[in-house]
Amino acid sequence: MADDQRPFDSQAADGRLLAQDRLRELMREYQAGRFEAFDEIYASIAPALRRYLLSQARDGAKAEDLVQDTFLQMHRARHTYDPSLPLMPWAMAIARHVWLMDRRTLSRRPWAPDDVTTMDLPVKGEAASYADRDDVRRALGKVAAPRRAAVIQHHVLGFSFKEIAERAGIAETAAKLRSSRGMGQLRALLGATEGTERTDRKRKP
């Protein structure tokens, strides 16, 4: 029977099989040392992973972060992929693991909230000269989440870097680095806020 005369379902199934075979081949090449194969793997499976993670997280930005983390973990676990098997179940299992780990991480750190708008920040008196509490909260909200967590845990809640490192499962130096970079980012943001306010004041009649 010619291809164009076959039932639509059969052709679609053939297409899926071809796509699976192609993905399998690409992953085998990626394992073997062709880094460029990753681009095609990403383009082929990222939408499906995003749909799945979006259905779990119900937050577009969060799902995007999780997709990237899934690809990072796929890269690190690439030696566990068996090229004789389809790629998608392997990738989806990693995506599910990433999602569950993210949930577990959040549940273990109730004292490092993502939402800083309601936090009672102990801003010192001299801080009022360049920014009030709301400015600090707003700036803190713009700092990258892991760095923000380190800043809050160390500077607000008083945890030692060792404790922060243990909680996050990272090295103590990494915790210090996060906090230091978070503070740097915070200072830069507050500086920018101060500059904006001065400009606004000048513009006002």
Binding site: Q31, A32, G33, F35, F38, D39, Y42, A43, A46, P47, D65, Q68, D69, F71, L72, Q73, H75, R76, A77, R78, H79, T80, Y81, D82, P83, L85, P89, W90, A91, M92, A93, I94, R96, H97, V98, M101, D102, R104, T105, A144, P146, R147, A168, G169, I170, A171, T173, A174, L177, R178
Partner: protein, 234 residues
């Protein structure tokens, strides 16, 4: 759809060719030397069970069969450690229940063929059998945990429990030869408790070695910034 620049740079920094892992069953064969040591350690170090009624098949045959089942369970644990190849709940229940039933079967068979009651100092014998059996399982638990961590267990507790159970069965296969007492009350409490202890230890070790992986590699931190990421070699 293009790969985000940050992700691409991160992957490129770490990229090198890798060889796919061999099949879990083939990797389980690496545990065979430890299984053999666990099988013969206690009988050789102390004394072979003087149970003429059991015969060679009843003594060594049943133990070798139990040890091979332990090896199969380790293979199941290594399969569980590969993403997308985890066992269903039903299969897991069978992997956990069947070995236990086999231990019960081996115990009752031994008791039927050679009934030896434990009369005095039961607590001392229980302590020796429990500690010996559990300790003999530890090297196999440690080694199998390394094999599991070398993969990517998405359910470390489950994979660890399976490999702990497998190691416990292999260790108990040797200790049942050494132990003179075939009384089911002793074997099904103390020896089985050692197997269960090994299962729990395996689970805890796997959670410790494989757990929280997602937290260790945040995307926004550079690798080459003097940090110690505790990364696994691949």
């Amino acid at each position: 759809m293009n790969v985000p620049a940050q992700l691409r740079a991160r992957l490129a920094a770490e990229y090198h060719p890798v060889r796919p892992l061999r099949s879990p069953w083939a990797r389980a064969l690496l545990v065979v030397p430890l299984a053999i040591v666990a099988l013969i350690a206690a009988p050789v170090a102390f004394d072979v069970r003087p149970a003429a009624n059991l015969g060679w098949l009843g003594v060594w045959g049943l133990s070798i069969a139990q040890s091979m089942i332990g090896l199969l369970v380790v293979g199941a644990a290594l399969r569980e450690s590969i993403p997308g190849r985890d066992w269903s709940r039903g299969a897991l229940a069978l992997w956990l229940a069947i070995p236990i039933l086999i231990v019960v079967g081996v115990t009752l068979t031994s008791w039927e063929a050679s009934p030896v009651l434990l009369r005095g100092q039961w607590w001392f014998v229980a302590g020796v059998c429990f500690a010996g059996s559990a300790a003999t399982a530890l090297p196999a638990v440690a080694f199998a945990s390394i094999l599991a961590a070398r993969a990517y267990p998405t359910r470390p507790a489950v994979a660890g429990a399976l490999l702990g159970l497998g190691a416990g069965l292999m260790a108990d296969a040797g200790w049942r030869i050494f132990c003179h007492f075939s009384e089911p009350a002793h074997v099904l409490s103390v020896h089985l408790a050692a197997v269960i202890m090994s299962t729990i230890v395996g689970s805890l070790v796997a959670v410790r070695t494989c757990g929280l992986r997602g937290e260790e590699y945040p995307l926004d931190e550079p690798v080459a910034a003097g940090e110690n990421h505790r990364g696994r070699s691949q």
